[in-house]
């Protein structure tokens, strides 16, 4: 526990000294936060989730999520990149139980602090990540894959990409596997740019992905199981921690503004203080939500029966929808409190960047898609999640 406390503390130092000072430039230029990643590598925070026996940090998912939150508080893009990397690592740690994957984790993720990205969406599937058009082709122990990915966040900077594909050329669209595609056997040809309102530093361009890999780098379990037991719940957990970091940055900014107002007229409680008290009640709901759901996942993370329950899937969907709604709520309240000072694009409060980032949360994997999935599951689920 002491070592892990150390990890969160190390992340705070990196966030303060490296991530926060670069955040405005990363946002303005829509560029990859490379100084942040260098610092995270130097602090060995990319392999935090890898078990100690493979040389990693041996941290729990809760602890890694807290690191993502600390980073997201300083720069949402850096927080999201860290979160997305850890989601991929979690898939390998939990489902890559073969010798080939353990060697990859020890040598590349720990040894070289490799950065992992994800290619689960595909042009032509209508956003349904549980179906693929592209297929793995296997010849003599080697697999090949070509995929048109509308988005691969920080693809150009990643050392490897985990991509979904149909198991074989004859497999139905829903029979998917997850393939570890490494450079230099991975080539990404950009097909679109990335000039968005928020999360600008994630550089989430579209690509045509072409890769070859040893057959041992296809995860043995069906992607359906990896998705429901790890990829989806861990994504929603990691993202919601980053978004809570955004909300926390906004509430800290508004607290500073109210304090400054109060100092001008000691003895008079500024009207905005009431709004701050309201904001703090919403912030508490948000914080309680992410802490509780992290604990809930940890409690059942090894219990396949519990992970496969529909009520669990609905609960993790609800976490994503709630967290992405709460972040907009908190940042909006902070804006109200800070007034025109917060509304200025050149303000040191930085609220305008937080506002733009906050609105991305409901759109990246659209909440409507997630709610539709829950709605369908609830037709048969028996109990509330």
């Amino acid at each position: 526990m002491a070592a892990v406390e150390g990890a969160i503390e190390r992340a705070r130092v990196v966030a303060r000294d490296v991530v926060a000072p670069a955040a405005d430039d990363v946002d303005r230029e829509a560029r990859f936060p490379k100084e942040a990643l260098e610092a995270l590598r130097a602090e060995r925070l990319l392999c935090l989730l890898v078990p100690e026996r493979l040389g990693g940090g041996g941290a729990s998912l809760t602890e890694v999520a807290r690191v993502a939150e600390v980073l997201g508080r300083a720069c949402a893009s850096t927080g999201m990149i860290y979160a997305m990397h850890q989601i991929q690592v979690a898939c390998l740690v939990r489902h890559g139980t073969t010798e080939a994957f353990e060697r990859y984790l020890a040598e590349e993720v720990v040894g070289r602090q490799a950065l992992l990205a994800s290619a689960t969406t595909e042009v032509g599937v209508g956003g349904d990540v549980r179906t693929s058009l592209c297929a793995v082709e296997e010849h003599d122990g080697e697999v090949r894959l070509e995929k048109r990915a509308p988005v691969i966040s920080y693809g150009q900077e990643a050392d490897a990409v985990l991509a979904t594909a149909r198991r074989t050329a004859d497999s139905p669209a829903s029979d998917q596997v997850l393939v570890l595609c490494r450079r230099p056997d991975l080539v990404l040809e950009p097909t679109s740019g990335w000039d968005t309102l928020g999360f600008r530093g994630t550089c989430s361009l579209g690509f045509v992905l072409r890769a070859s890999a040893p057959a041992s780098h296809v995860l043995p379990e069906p992607y359906a199981d990896i998705s429901s037991r790890t990829m989806l719940p861990v994504s929603h957990l990691m993202w919601s921690h980053v978004w809570f970091g955004i909300a926390d940055a906004a509430s800290a900014a508004s607290q500073g503004v109210v304090r400054a107002l109060a100092r001008k007229q000691p003895g008079v409680t500024p009207p905005a203080a009431l709004r701050l008290a309201e904001l703090m009640t919403v912030r508490l709901q948000f914080e309680s939500l992410v802490r509780h759901m992290a604990r809930r996942y940890e409690e059942i993370s090894a219990d396949l029966d519990a992970l496969d329950q529909m009520s669990f899937a609905v609960a993790m969907n609800s976490l994503k929808v709630a967290a992405s709604t709460l972040v907009v709520d908190v940042v909006g309240r902070a804006m109200q409190i800070c007034g025109m000072a917060g509304y200025r694009a050149d303000s040191e409060l930085g609220l305008e960047r937080l506002l733009r980032d906050a609105h991305g949360a409901a759109l990246m994997v659209n909440n409507d898609r997630i709610l539709a999935n829950s709605a369908h599951l609830l037709l048969v689920a028996r109990e509330a999640g």
């Binding site: 497999s171 139905p172 029979d175 329950q309 529909m310 009520s311 048969v380 028996r382």
Partner: protein
């Protein structure tokens, strides 16, 4: 048993949206590998509950229960036995 399996196949044919005909699916064939999506599996559960007049308890509402015709039959059998008792 064969009769139950055929009834299950009929439900599969109407609701599972498989790319192959349900009649050609063996009792132990993996339905997910045969193209059953998670979305279609929910419809399948609802249709099975209607066809067999049962209600799957929470503990059965997971992927493994609907993995094959055989696993569906076992789940249905256990429910029917519970009702009969």
């Amino acid at each position: 048993m064969a009769e139950t399996d055929d009834q299950i196949r009929q439900v599969l044919r109407e609701h599972a949206k498989l790319p192959v005909d349900a009649g050609s699916i063996g009792a132990e064939t993996d339905l997910y590998a045969a193209g059953l999506t998670s979305h279609a599996s929910v419809n399948l559960m609802l249709a099975l509950e209607d066809a067999f007049d049962v209600e799957f308890p929470q503990s059965m509402l997971r992927k493994q229960t609907f993995q094959s015709i055989g696993s569906i039959r076992e789940a249905l059998d256990s429910l029917v036995r519970t009702v009969a008792r």
